[in-house]
Amino acid sequence: MYYFDHSATTPINPLVLELMTEVQKNTYGNPSSIHSAGREAKIIIEKARQEIANAINAEPFQIYFTSGGTESNNHVLWSLVSIKNAHIITNVIEHPAILKVLEYLEPHGLKNTLINVDKNGLVNLKDLESQITKETRLVSIMFANNEIGTIQPLRKINKIIKGKNILFHTDAVQCLGKIKVDVKELDVDFLSLSAHKFHGPKGIGILYVKNKKDISSLIIGGSQEGGLRGGTENVASIAGAGLAAKLSVKNLKENSKKLKDLKTFFIKELISFFPKIIINGDLIDSLPGLVNISFPGFRSDILLAKLDRVNIAVSSGTACGAGDVKPSPVLSAIGLDIKLNLSSLRFSFGSTNTMAEVKILLKELKIILNI
């Protein structure tokens, strides 16, 4: 399998798997129990919490474990429902884990404004500024887009909202291990992560919360996770998430450079035999390993199927329940017409990819594109 779909999910790091297997096997205690088996489990969780905190320059008490990026986002948004007339500003190319939630919460009294993006996917800052009202309680702008890789100017956004009593959330699910994620530097109030995007296990996410007073509980029950999320912890997955975070930031610079090199090489070679391609998103403010490309005159679902036949995994548009390809709202938002939209593929490289693999991808694309 030649896997170039790391923005969908990543293969688990073998060291992470090893740790998880060991924890799952040996540490069966309930972290809330007072006996030694319970304490042992508790220690594992707190160690992981420290590892996550270290990875994003936070304090351990600011780290909350969730079931994934979607839950982390939901947690922040649901938290505002109890505030009367609360208003949220976000943008049109957010993940459905933001947009669908806001759509759902609207009849429950949570107002929202969606800011447009330019042709590269960058949020219009003037628009954002002009949409702030005295009821605006939260601005939620993703760190990097999952489909086109565009990195948003979070620090500039922060300057705009500073001193206005507005909380700032960012969905950074695509970022850890690829670009620097430093909550102090970004100065955000909330930040969402998902372990399976950085070679950790699926089903475990992280929510960074700067001040606990700014958020309410999502899952009511036991007193786990500071009472914000009741329920016995997924000890092995939490351990895995902690180690995965630690490993993914350890070699951030080299990793990032490797991903960038793979992407640069891929684009350069692709253009050399198929110059008609269109690159969607920002070339500079972009995730190192991700590129979204339109192939004019080709259907993305056909390209996907033909690549799948030779064991190459890439992705297109928005995946949904029945595996069919639909036009991507993100690509529409940056101005692609429906035809070009349905001619687009996302290639997302990972740290385990090699140059040789990218060459195979190029060779197969050449055949499929009939050149």
Partner: protein
């Protein structure tokens, strides 16, 4: 061996079709078509997809999906609505075959490198003198040639129907032996995108209903209807006419629709002569081999479940024909298709415009 793309619906018929092709040595790939976007509880697409996935897992063949919802909406559903607005009874499944399954899906599969496509329809094909004939499926209860009569030579010659020689029960046995979880899945009935939901509620979402009067043959007003589009000729249920209104205790039937006056004309008893017509006019004529047939024994069906009935054809013009049946036909509905046969060979058909 050449590559065949099977349209897998999640049902047992297409699943067994894929399995049979594999046994015949073909290189088989499966595609799940999504032709309708619907989040309602009636939409079975997710379960259907899971069933298809399970089948492909057993058969070890790849399953991919394609979305033709826009094409279906533009080419099939719009026409369906237009026809209902005009008070006719269209057959969208026939249009879906000629416009989506055997056009969009066929083109798509060829583009994917398929030699031919295959579906789980109960029909057969036969090559004679360079022509491809469409034959009825061997299971008399399941024969689906009625729905495929608008296909042309190009479409038929690129299509395989692996279960056309089987009975439904044989298909289910094959599926059970293979371990397909859908082996006893209920047959889909009615119009695919409406599914199990109430037809009236569904239609109401798209076409404003115009209530009007129900009159008997002597123009006495005996009830009210919610909209002519909810009714079709020969319909007996759902008229809500009280028993005391009639001359007898016989059931009421829809005899005709007066579109101009928005009135539904009803009469009593299944033997009412206005329910039976021997002649009909039809347009949108299609002959599978491109020629008007010259056969001794021409018969036709006026709806899917009707029996074949002997008839003759006179051409009114290039685009219009009149069909004369030997015996009167029950409840000929405008908008339905009349499909012609010479014994087991399906010759083509046309759309009914009027009857007398």
């Amino acid at each position: 061996m050449s590559r065949i793309v099977v349209g897998l619906s999640g049902g047992v018929d297409s699943a067994v079709s894929a399995s049979l092709l594999l046994e015949q040595g073909y290189d088989v790939e499966a595609i799940f078509m999504k032709n309708w976007e619907d989040d309602s509880e009636y939409c079975t697409v997710e379960q259907d997809y899971k069933d298809a996935l399970q089948v492909c897992d057993i058969l070890k063949i790849p399953l991919r999906s394609v979305n033709f919802a826009k094409e279906y909406w533009d080419k099939v559903f719009q026409h369906f609505l237009e026809e209902y607005k005009l008070g006719r009874t269209p057959n969208p499944d026939i249009l879906c075959n000629s416009e989506i399954k055997f056009k969009e899906f066929l083109q798509y599969s060829i583009e994917l490198g398929a030699k031919k496509i295959a579906t789980g329809h109960y029909v057969r094909t036969k090559n004679i003198n360079g022509e491809t004939q469409l034959l009825k499926g061997l299971d008399p209860n399941k024969d689906q040639s009625y729905f495929l009569h608008t296909l042309n030579q190009n479409q038929l010659s690129q299509s395989l129907f692996p279960i056309g020689t089987l009975d439904k029960s044989e298909v289910r046995i094959h599926a059970e032996k293979k371990g397909f979880t859908n082996f006893n899945k209920k047959d889909s009935v009615g119009i695919c995108f409406i599914g199990e939901r109430n037809f009236k509620d569904f239609l109401k979402k798209y076409i404003p209903a115009k209530p009007g009067f129900i009159i008997d043959e002597l123009s006495n007003v005996i009830g009210q209807h919610d909209g002519l589009m909810y009714h079709t000729i020969g319909q007996r249920k759902g008229l809500r006419i009280g028993g005391g209104n009639g001359q007898s205790t016989d059931a009421w039937y829809v005899l005709d629709k007066d579109i101009e006056n928005n009135q539904l004309i009803v009469g009593q008893g299944i033997k009412n002569t206005r329910l039976y017509k021997k002649n009909l006019n039809a347009s949108s004529i299609h002959w599978i081999n491109n020629r008007k047939p010259e056969v001794d024994q021409l018969s036709a069906k006026i709806r899917y479940r009707a029996a074949d009935s002997l008839c003759t054809i006179t051409a009114l013009s290039k685009t219009k024909i009149t069909i004369h049946f030997e015996k009167p036909q029950f409840a000929i509905a405008k908008g339905q298709s009349v499909v012609f046969y010479n014994n087991e060979v399906c010759l083509g058909g046309a759309i009914i415009t009027s009857s007398y």
